[in-house]
């Protein structure tokens, strides 16, 4: 498969005719184009299906454009589709997700920034072990905490509530947010902290006046990462919510798998797009930071 990279072979100009080189270059672009189609196809199908009538879906082809564009499915998906017994569409659940994501992202980012600042610049005995323990917490399969967490939320009286979900997302987001900020702050020279201490600034003053103003890029990365994680979460949502507090992913799944009435594929697709839209928008607007978060989250250091 590495042979496909040969088009670049400029090291032996005489062995390859100019025509052959151009042909290889074309082949390269055709391949890249085909892959682009592969990745875009599902989105295209979702979009066209959501704009078709049920009749057209049954008679037409999967990838044909809608003969008549109709936004009825979108309306239904937003405010009329049934998730089990209720038929209010995605709207209430969309707002649930917003109500869960915004505070959870804000709190976990702020705590991550403070933790990262401590771990990177105020090392004390045992700080390394604490950081390692927190880091490992990022990797556990959450199944292993589902049962005790369900019981604890019950004991705290926040089972099935939005504050309960916020709490869960903050707790299990802390490892990653701490890691992000820690990896960013270790690149800031420790002399800066020393200079500020000699200048008379204390722990919080240094954080506020010197580190925070430097942190915009990593705040963006962390906020995007946390937002994507929390918005797209399903496991916690489905385990710790009840009717009325479910996040949008759970509601989407309920709409798609609801067995009452006729299967409305166009509504399913519209609902799927609505549920995916916020993270997709974030990706389009701030893709650079999104990718940085992904790679920072996987390749440490």
């Amino acid at each position: 498969m590495t042979d496909l990279s040969m088009p670049q072979s400029q090291t032996e100009p005489r062995s390859q005719s100019a025509v052959g080189k151009v042909a290889l270059r074309w082949l390269l672009y055709v391949l890249l184009g085909l892959f682009a189609l592969y990745y875009l196809m599902p989105l295209f199908v979702m979009l066209t299906t959501s704009l078709k009538s049920l009749e057209e879906i049954r008679t037409g082809s999967l990838i044909s454009l809608p003969r008549e564009v109709s936004f009825d499915a979108w309306k239904t998906a937003w405010s009329g589709a049934c998730t089990g017994i209720q038929c209010e569409g995605l709207r209430p659940y969309f707002w649930n997700s917003v109500l869960i994501a915004v505070p959870a992202v804000a709190i976990s980012t702020l705590l991550g920034a403070l933790n990262g600042y401590v771990v990177a610049h105020w090392r004390f005995k045992g700080a390394n072990i604490i950081f390692s323990l927190m880091l490992f917490g990022c990797f556990i399969p959450f199944q292993v905490v589902l049962l005790p967490m369900a019981r604890l939320l019950g004991m705290m009286g926040i089972a099935g509530t939005i504050p309960g979900l916020i709490f869960v997302h903050v707790i299990y987001g802390l490892g990653f947010t701490t890691l992000f900020f820690r990896n960013y702050y270790v690149t800031i020279p420790s002399e800066l902290t020393k200079a500020a201490r000699v200048d008379g600034a204390g722990f919080l003053r240094i954080f506020w006046s010197i580190f925070l103003p430097l942190s915009l890029p990593i705040i963006v990365v962390t906020v995007i990462w946390q937002f994507t994680q929390i918005w797209n979460d399903f496991l916690f949502g489905v385990s710790f919510s009840q009717a009325g507090t479910q996040p949008v992913t759970v509601a989407l799944n309920n709409i798609v798998n609801s067995t009452t009435g006729v299967k409305e594929y166009n509504v399913d697709m519209a609902a799927a797009i609505i549920a995916g839209l916020p993270t997709l928008l974030v990706y389009v607007v701030a893709g650079k930071y999104f990718i940085r978060g992904l790679t920072a989250g996987s390749v440490k250091g």
């Binding site: 020279p189 002399e191 800066l192 020393k194 200079a195 500020a196 201490r197 000699v198 200048d199 010197i210």
Partner: protein, 365 residues
């Protein structure tokens, strides 16, 4: 007058590792103390201990007569200039300089007046509204000094402040720091690994190695009378020639025999009455070996040597010859006729020789 800085039996450990051992230093107001040594010798740690950025493990430390052993950096009445300058990247030059006063709640009028004064002194007025990233290395250096000067502290601490500058700028800034010291009559502790910086700036030098003080003295004392082989080798460039030799009592003076590759032993006489063991290391600076006829004095002894190499360096020409199994460098005048492979008559100024014990490396005379 009380010493401005008094360090007494200071120890510093990281876990089981001893970083600094039994450090005793005291300086008077107006002193320019340079801590010099190779990397890893503990000089920066010592400076951090003086600043209070590192807790010390044992001993006491006082600044301006007040015990500061467990006082936090902000209450030590010090200012510090860092190797990387450590300018706050998101603040303008003016804010960088006044940040310390702002933290301490100094009123705005005083801040402005102080800022103006320092900016004038350092000639950085046009830079006040810029960010550190928009400054050149030399300008950053000035701002970092401005941040320290504005505090008007009892004691200035400099942590290798010139090592990030290019060679030319380094010499310029060196001169400027010296000038500042003289105009302000400030007390300074300055860390460097560059022995030339130490020689040019210091009124007092501390040579450190492996966390242990090797010698404390004026630049002249350190240069002329190094306390041991390490100091002799570390201070001065090109380094002091250190030649294994044998000493014999010879009347009132001492006879020194140095083996040569040619088999013929070089014998030199030191007129001083010294009590030396038989095996010694003879230390002689390159400038104390001249071309015969260009150096006069009681201790001068001439001898013919085979020139292995000639290295013209502009103002001087260095000549390398083998003595006692070592490459010995002599510093000759620029117009010397020395040629590689030829014999040359060299004049050794034996009155300048330092002797060291072969085993311990300690100075003998």
């Amino acid at each position: 007058m009380a010493p401005i800085l008094d360090i007494n039996k200071l120890y510093k450990n990281y876990g089981a590792t001893e970083i600094l051992k039994d450090i005793n230093i005291s300086i008077e107001p107006g002193d320019f103390l340079v801590l010099v040594g190779p990397s890893g010798c503990g000089k920066s740690t010592l400076l951090n201990c003086i600043a209070g950025l590192e807790e010390i493990t044992g001993g006491t430390l006082s600044i301006g007569g007040n015990d500061m052993t467990h006082v936090s950096p902000k209450d030590r009445d010090i200012a510090m200039v860092f190797q990387s300058y450590a300018l706050y990247p998101t603040m303008t030059v003016a804010k960088n300089i006044t940040f310390g006063m702002k933290v301490r709640g100094v009123d705005q009028a005083t801040q402005d007046a102080k800022l103006k004064e320092v900016a004038q002194l350092l000639q950085i007025e046009p830079l006040l509204n810029r960010r550190p990233s928009q400054l050149s290395g030399g300008q950053r250096q000035r701002v970092a000094m401005g941040r320290a000067l504005v505090r008007d502290p009892k004691l200035f601490l400099f942590d290798e402040p010139l090592s990030n500058l290019d060679a030319k700028l380094r010499v310029e800034m060196r001169t400027e720091i010296k000038k500042l010291h003289q105009t302000l009559d400030a007390s300074i502790v300055y860390v460097t690994h560059d022995q030339i910086e130490a020689m040019t700036l210091a009124t007092k030098i501390v040579v450190l190695k492996g966390g242990v003080v090797q010698q404390i003295g004026t630049p002249a004392e350190i240069y002329n009378n190094p306390a041991n082989l390490f100091v002799a080798d570390f201070m001065g460039s090109p380094a002091m020639n250190l030649i294994p030799a044998q000493a014999h009592k010879n009347g009132a003076g001492t006879q020194i025999a140095i083996a040569r590759d040619s088999g013929e032993t070089l014998v030199l006489n030191d007129a001083r009455d010294l009590a030396l063991p038989k095996d010694v290391i003879l230390g002689l600076r390159p400038e104390d070996i001249a071309e015969a006829g260009f150096r006069a004095g009681d201790g001068v002894q001439e001898a013919e040597c085979l020139v292995d190499m000639v290295e013209p360096a502009g103002a001087d020409t260095y000549v390398v010859s083998e003595l006692g199994g070592k490459q010995v460098t002599a510093r000759l005048h620029a117009e010397t006729s020395a040629q590689a492979g030829k014999m040359l008559n060299l004049a050794f100024d034996m009155s300048k020789v330092s002797y060291f014990a072969q085993e311990t490396g300690e100075r003998l005379n």
